[in-house]
Symmetry: C2
Subunit: 334 residues, 2 copies
């Protein structure tokens, strides 16, 4: 017998998440929820698994609940969508207790509330480890979808958000546990509580209403691995667009977060390489026509131009071939 009952969990969910939402005709508690017909919807699903994506030893329960939803919202942000709702399926081992779950739901509800998102349903089950599976959706305009693979040579490349910081946080939390928080506060925060760039995504979508929309994605596996995806280059090197796209990045060390630079120095590594290989940034990576860049920069002061799309078929960073620019395999497989 576990430490929690289904009734207690459902009561906890009812306390933390409102039962009604303007976009929801029928909420939790029936076979399905029913969403009101309206805008085109963008949909994404992401897993957040114990000892794969987080550890209970240094993640507080609030942070697990927050981050599980944040990484899903980041996909909606990368489409320029406005998040509306989500379903939550939870697998729980026997040693999870109600105080842990209270914190988990509190952290998740705070983020859902900030974006006015409805939790419309899901599933509960026993499981060997904590297993969080979320499907999120948001409204988008079909005439301004921010997709991958539609950049052109000469387009400007940009990033919204920080590169490499979350990876420093992961490395230090793995090495030092909770003590890392005081030594590397920005990095730990970037790993534990990443900020989905929803407002920036919606601003970029608006820029595409009367022009060629920017290309956009969120950086989850590190810029070195994700930039080829933005350009429509498969891990095997094939070009989806047939355009032989490449990129020239200009990333002076001064553009990087101070803790990334300090960490690289302490470890005797190259800070730029570290920033490009770092995963779980949940920054937005995009490209746009060069004449669109000034208006975007004015609307999003935090947007950082990082280079140019080329027709060379190669990716260079500060004049050197980019290391590690290949697909990240979640199974480390053959």
């Amino acid at each position: 017998m576990g430490l929690v009952s289904e009734d207690h969990i459902l009561a906890c969910i009812a306390r933390h998440f409102p039962g009604t939402h303007p976009a929801v005709l029928l909420g939790r508690g029936d076979d399905c929820a029913v969403l009101r017909a309206g805008a085109d919807l963008c949909v994404s699903s992401d897993l957040f698994l114990e000892d794969v994506h987080f550890r209970r030893s240094y993640f507080r329960p609030e942070e697990v609940g927050y981050k599980a939803l944040a990484v899903n919202i980041s996909d909606v942000a990368a489409c320029g969508g406005r998040p509306l709702g989500f379903t939550l399926s939870l697998g729980l081992p026997r040693d999870v207790d109600m105080p842990w779950l209270e914190g988990f739901f509190r952290g998740m509800a705070a983020l859902a509330d900030r974006h006015r998102m409805a939790l419309v349903g899901g599933d509960l089950s026993g499981s060997p480890c904590i297993h969080v599976s979320i499907t999120v959706w948001g409204e988008v305009r079909a005439d301004s979808l921010l997709t991958r693979g539609n950049g052109l040579p000469g387009d400007s490349l940009f990033v919204v958000g920080s590169l490499g910081l979350a990876r420093v946080g992961l490395e230090e939390l793995e090495a030092r546990g909770d003590a890392a928080r005081a030594l590397w506060p920005d990095a730990c925060r970037a790993h534990l509580l990443p900020l989905p760039q929803v407002d920036a995504g919606m601003t970029l979508a608006r820029a595409g209403f009367n022009a060629r929309p920017p290309a956009l994605m969120d950086v989850s596996d590190g810029l070195a691995r994700d930039l080829p995806r933005l350009l429509g280059i498969t891990p095997g090197g094939a070009q989806v667009s047939g355009r032989h796209l490449g990129a020239e990045l200009l990333l002076p060390q001064g553009m990087l977060p101070p803790e990334v630079v300090r960490h690289a120095r302490e470890k005797g590594r190259n800070a730029v390489t570290e920033a490009l290989l770092g995963g779980e940034d949940y920054a937005l990576l995009g490209s746009c026509a060069p004449d669109m860049l000034p208006a975007l920069k004015a609307a999003l002061p935090q947007l950082m131009p990082i280079g140019t799309v080329t027709s060379s078929g190669r990716i260079l960073c500060n004049g050197q071939p980019l290391e590690g620019a290949r697909g990240f395999d979640h199974f480390g497989g053959a």
Copy 2:
């Protein structure tokens, strides 16, 4: 290093599931999929976990793929919806190989194809056990939602599908493994390859276009546990409707599947009780105004009337109080 790579899995998915669908503006491979605005959508998420919901020892990979999707489609059927698409998040342990995954996707794709459903995205991760998390959606008409809790005293109760058969299959497969298939073919089939009642659900939804819609749900935890939910009675006995609803069931043994009757006889048990306690039926359980029943029975010859909604606050079966009529706790918790 595992036996599979992410590229191989994605190639396998591409082979088995078409990349386009009339209701999908943007399919797999970007941050989100994009669904075309249209009908109201019903949405549901269900987990299907190794050693909780299935065992690899007697489930063939095709059956795991089929059933993981079938139990999700069943929720759409219980709303009277037409299934349109799904996302799939897969957690895979290191010992899963490509032949197993080929079978898994083949079984899932056959069912998706039968209902013309699009697989629009999802996630892949390592995991300690096989973990299948699906979110499914379908189109519904908001003016004819088939929900729980809207029955009235005097309404007729009915079932579409068989009761108790899947539980016999589970018990025999657990006891005998693969050898159970020859001895209990109907029961094993009901457990391994349950049929989501999509056409019946849509027929029931049409009956509600110009009349009070039937109440409807799918029976996943056994009729004894699910009937109170249909009536809007909480596990604590509270009446959501405030109507003090109850039910009188008439279930002669002759209405039960022959293998359920034979199994109860061999085990020295009461066949009707067994049928009512049996889980994972994925039958539809509903109620409707009594004058609607003849038309429903004509449209759905397999529909079985099983009794009447009362205002007694009690559930009787064949004149006796119904055993086990309480909520099923997936954690067996306090």
